[in-house]
């Protein structure tokens, strides 16, 4: 597999949200606006890339049987770092994302990439894979966030473009499910050709 393919597969072909259906909790939970989706996506990308790097570096010294617990500790450390750093420098976003930041630990996407890719591949490839998957995840979250924000509050990235009430349901919980359902269907339509 060439480098470009490792990087780009996360966007459409193996998009973690639309195709692999991983990490659905944060996908639905934080995408009330495009900014929140982007913030969550980037935080996850950071954790993904860093844990892929470390896992790839230490893969040959970790005994096979304690592989999973070691990975969990590595991932949890980076998640806590992200949590603390966001609290210090972007407090408003931190309080919006709330519980979903520590929950990056149990995002199947992060663990999945560490186990399925980084523990078997070289450092360079693992970084590319983490970056591609992470940005693909961020792309999906931002897209869903933007759709919900546009339909629900008639604004995009916090900028109001019409003075009227949007379709409330899209900002509220049901809108997350409906928005994602139609985006997945749309993605299938596009990739089917």
């Amino acid at each position: 597999m060439n480098k470009w393919k490792i990087f780009s597969k996360g966007f459409i072909k193996e998009n973690p949200v639309f195709v692999l259906l991983l990490g659905l909790c944060p996908t639905l939970g934080v995408t009330t606006s495009a900014i929140n989706g982007l913030g969550m996506g980037l935080a996850t990308t950071f954790v993904l890339v860093m844990s892929n790097i470390v896992v790839s570096l230490v893969k040959s010294v970790i005994p096979n049987k304690v592989r999973i617990p070691s990975f969990i500790v590595i991932i949890a450390s980076f998640v806590t770092i992200v949590d603390l750093v966001m609290k210090a420098y972007v407090p408003a976003l931190h309080s919006q994302l709330g519980l979903f930041i520590p929950l990056i630990v149990v995002n199947c996407l992060v663990m999945g990439r560490a186990e399925a890719f980084a523990s078997k591949n070289s450092l360079g490839d693992s970084i590319l894979d983490g970056l591609g998957m992470g940005l693909g995840f961020a792309f999906a979250l931002t897209l869903l966030g933007a759709v919900r924000e546009i339909l629900g509050s008639l604004s995009i990235f916090g900028i109001q473009f019409a003075e009227a009430d949007g379709m409330l349901v899209f900002v509220l919980a049901p809108g997350a499910f409906l928005g994602l359902a139609y985006l997945i269907a749309l993605m299938r339509k596009i990739t089917d050709k």
Binding site: T32, P63, N64, V66, V73, S77, I81
Partner: protein, 197 residues
């Protein structure tokens, strides 16, 4: 790639080392971010105090006083403000558990007779585009509390027979906001009554 063999010794050792390294790294990050985090909290507090109080020289005591509320289990914080030696008002850090996404904290400033000077949102998780309109920057919802004395101003939304116009489509957040202000007011008046000579 050859998988390393698992013996009891190297498994225990690996787990220990990984956890120790993680603990060390986190302690380091925790200590470097501690100051900025406290700085942020201080700034939020100071901005809110500046907004809800008239001009003042000092807050005495500077870290506020914890007061048990009339209803609810966690304490509110009172920040009595003075200009010279004269009390000009008290900012009350209050909360509600009735928010659409759980608890949020606001600051309410009262003049000595109990009139609301202004309000400021400290921390919330309400829905962007709906409940977050309770922030002063996003709508004029909080303005209607300015200068009102809850003695003759019903601290609940009009739907419930009060004098507060709820945020469109965010009645729950509006009700919660009133609940927080009401908790602050009742606790404030009760404390004054008890403290008056």
């Amino acid at each position: 790639m050859a998988k390393k063999e698992s013996t009891l010794l190297n498994m225990v050792l690996t787990l220990f080392l990984v956890t120790a390294a993680a603990g060390l790294a986190l302690a380091l990050v925790y200590n470097t971010t501690l100051e900025p985090i406290q700085q942020v909290e201080k700034e939020v507090l100071e901005t809110a105090l500046g907004r809800v109080l008239p001009e003042f020289d000092k807050i005495e005591p500077p870290s506020g006083i914890e007061v048990a509320p009339e209803n609810g289990k966690d304490p509110l914080v009172f920040y009595p403000a003075y200009k010279g030696e004269e009390p000009v008002g008290t900012a009350v850090k209050t909360y509600t558990d009735q928010g659409f996404s759980g608890r949020f904290w606001i600051m309410v400033g009262f003049s000595p007779d109990g009139t609301i000077i202004n309000t400021a949102v400290l921390e919330h998780k309400e829905t962007p585009g709906l409940g977050d309109k309770m922030e002063t920057e996003k709508s004029d919802f909080p303005d209607q509390f300015k200068g009102e004395n809850p003695a003759d101003f019903g601290l609940s939304v009009t739907k419930d027979g009060g004098d507060v116009d709820a945020i469109t489509a965010a009645t729950i957040s509006s009700r919660a906001f009133c609940d927080a202000v009401d908790r602050a007011y009742k606790t404030f008046m009760n404390k004054n009554k008890g403290g008056a000579k």
